[in-house]
Amino acid sequence: MNDATMHAIGVEAIGIGKRFGAFNALSDVSMKVHPATVHGLLGENGAGKSTLVKCLLGYYRADEGSLLVDDKEVTIERPADADALGLGMVYQHFTLVPSMTVAENLVMARRNVPGVIDWRSELAQLEDFMRGMPFKVPLTVEAGSLAAGERQKTEIVKQLYLQRRFLVLDEPTSVLTPQEADEMLGLVRDLAHSGQLTIVIITHKLKEVAKFVDEVTVLRRGKFAGAGLVRSLGPTDLTAMMIGEPHAPADPERLGAPVNEVRLEVRDLRTANDGGRAGLSVDHLTVNAHEIVGIAGVSGNGQKDLLEVLGGQQPMQSGTIAVDGTPYGATRAESQALHVRVLPEEPLRNGCVPGMSVVDNLALRSFDRGETKTPRRWLDRAGMAARARSMIQAYGIRAPSAEVPIGVLSGGNVQRCVLARELDGVVRLLIVANPCFGLDVKAVAETRARIMAARNAGTAVLLISEDLDEIMELSDRIVVMHGGKVVHEMPAAGADPQEIGKHMLGHG
């Protein structure tokens, strides 16, 4: 590509409508994105943001409406059509090929790959290109062995490598640390303002909107809810447009102090190394009743393994886990007897059966037990549906119907479903991982309030999160993990984020 073609392009969507069956995901939505700007696309979970951009990118076909690219009407039926126009997207789920190296992924994404690839010259060119990037990704490492944050960076680098002139980022910063996010957004904004690229960014973080976005379009429940320059809109205006009420709910209230009664005790826990990554080596970790213990750490330092061991997804090599003094092996019988519940990260993958209905998924914890905890042999479908209805009500889950497969729900609604299921009934120990990942402002407040309410009612909560603000806000006690080990522990009251950050990086 020569420089003459390298200019940002403007895109306008007019009157887009999209139905999934009888459900109207989008109706008469318009969005005008000016060239060389950063455009924010905001809205609650399930508002239709991802659906709208997927229509732009040819991933879905809109039922109604038209698209203009640089003021000319175009039809985009396939991703390849969008590609040819210079439109690209970083999807909410990743599209790197795990078994291929970063370099292979980058080169193969290009349109004009030669029949036989000269790796020596390609690698030299890639290294050249990488020098101009604000963050480095290792070129010869397999994409599958990268941590989530690194994978996200690679996705963005890939789009820049493909010289996109219009780029959609769907919640790009949810897996990045605050510094990484600032750096990345600063880079793309500068690219946009220099006239090379137009950016549409989908995000729930109003701070990022204020800092990096020029204009916004807001959706609410599949309809256009407003648009404007960020300069002239404050956070209250944005919140009001998004949720229809002017104020986000207040911070949850912490009631009472932790009780000196150990609910979860982990001793000398070890797990195997997998593919060169060090396993867990946790000597001692406790969670008391009426207490939230927050585990802070940079993504990929063993938090995921800890969660998997506690959730029964990974075996341990040695060590003991006890809940209420009883040895705990995370079997279904044990978790039912001891009332242990888990809200895993990526709940659609780790806590749901995507092809089963919302009703079935909401009943996964209880379908085989009667009211009196007796084993149940015949499913009580009417009862399951009734309980699902009340959970959908109580948690404000937005779904086309309770009978659709849970996999078609928007990310935030899947999260609500799993939260509803895990907090149902008696809960003595709750293990949560990144509970607010991808949730909108209102849902974040709601979820945190529910976790706090569980704690206030006496539940012991182990909170694993990559969001340090969240840990600071919710925890009674903070534990820092680095390299699979617990490296620091402190009470949350008066904790200094700078100091925690140092421990997270392994200098303590």
Binding site: R78, P79, A80, D83, Y91, H93, F94, T95, L96, V97, P98, S99, M100, E104, V107, M108, A109, V113, P114, G115, V116, I117, D118, W119, A272, D274, G275, Q314, P315
Partner: protein
């Protein structure tokens, strides 16, 4: 002492011989699995290839024509598997079993007239010409197909790493999402990989009937086509490793006959079972708990 040397030489010669069909079928299976499908029908392609090769060699008088015809028969059988599996809701494993039975059935049906006549065979390459003892020299007669197979393994390795087509096959096999996002033709790529994979299996069959001792009969294959699936797991989906794995399986297969050459007949059938035992052991070792199978293409139906 002399008898030990005999056993070792016989083992060496035997393992080169026994490993060749393993090598071709496993390379074919590796190619297919890299694209995200399993083709158990390669057993059928192997047997059909053996029959077609023998018949063609007999009719035309040229064993190399036989090899080509075998590859072509495999290509057709694999292509049909690939085409049928392109339809939605068709399971590649179940379809593979159907093709295994179909391939052997067709081969037995059309192969009846070729059990008796003797066709021209592929000559071996006498690497042992400088040896005085005819026994040792004989052991070093290497089939040209073995050399072709090793070359194919290196070519395939290069293909997966440096060609556009090879990388596309890997993308399709590893991440459907990525393939869709890149707009790659998933079904067409898999069709191609399955067809070419079965063509390699067909060449493996040609070895069975056209290399020493060389004949066509219904008991020619002893499940090499199926064991290749285990072999590919053991080789971690790496073509070069397929060579080593085939040699190991070949050595196991040559154990019984070599012991027999020195008159050691105890546990005759037991030693014949060695390759199957090796298959079992290999699968158990590679499936060692808790750790992910490195190298496995993400879209394989057994792994999803």
């Amino acid at each position: 002492m002399d008898s030990l040397a005999t056993v070792i030489v016989a083992m060496l010669a035997g393992s080169l011989r026994v490993s060749t069909p393993f090598l071709f079928v496993s390379l074919g299976e590796c190619l297919t699995e890299k694209s995200g499908r399993i083709n158990l029908g390669n057993e059928g392609a192997l047997v059909l290839g053996a029959m077609v090769a023998y018949a063609t060699s007999y009719e035309t008088g040229s064993p190399w024509c036989g090899v080509l015809a075998a590859a072509f028969a495999g290509l057709l059988l694999g292509g049909l598997h690939g085409a049928i599996c392109s339809m939605t809701r068709i399971n590649d494993v179940a379809m593979g079993i159907a093709f295994m039975l179909a391939g052997t059935g067709i081969a037995f049906f059309f192969g009846k007239p070729y059990v008796q006549p003797s066709a021209p065979l592929l000559p071996g390459i006498p690497f042992g010409f400088w040896l005085e003892s005819p026994r040792f020299a004989n052991a070093l007669m290497v089939s040209p197909l073995f050399i072709l197979g090793v070359a194919a393994a290196f070519a395939l390795h290069w293909f997966f790493r440096t060609t556009r087509m090879g990388l596309r096959i890997r993308i399709v096999g590893d991440s459907q999402d990525a393939a869709l996002a890149l707009g790659l033709p998933i079904n067409r790529t898999r069709l191609l990989a399955t067809g070419c994979g079965s063509a390699l299996a067909g060449i493996g069959g040609a070895f069975l009937s056209l290399c020493y001792p060389g004949s066509w009969n219904e008991g020619l294959s002893s499940g090499q086509g199926l064991m290749a699936v285990a072999l590919v797991v053991f080789a971690r989906w790496n073509p070069i490793n397929c060579v080593y794995a085939s040699l190991l399986f070949g050595a196991a297969g040559a154990l019984g006959p070599s012991l027999q050459t020195v008159g050691f007949t105890w546990g005759y059938y037991l030693f014949y079972a060695a390759p199957y035992v090796v298959t079992l052991v290999v699968l158990i070792i590679t499936a060692k708990g808790g750790q992910s199978l490195r190298g496995m293409p993400g879209q394989l139906s057994i792994g999803r």
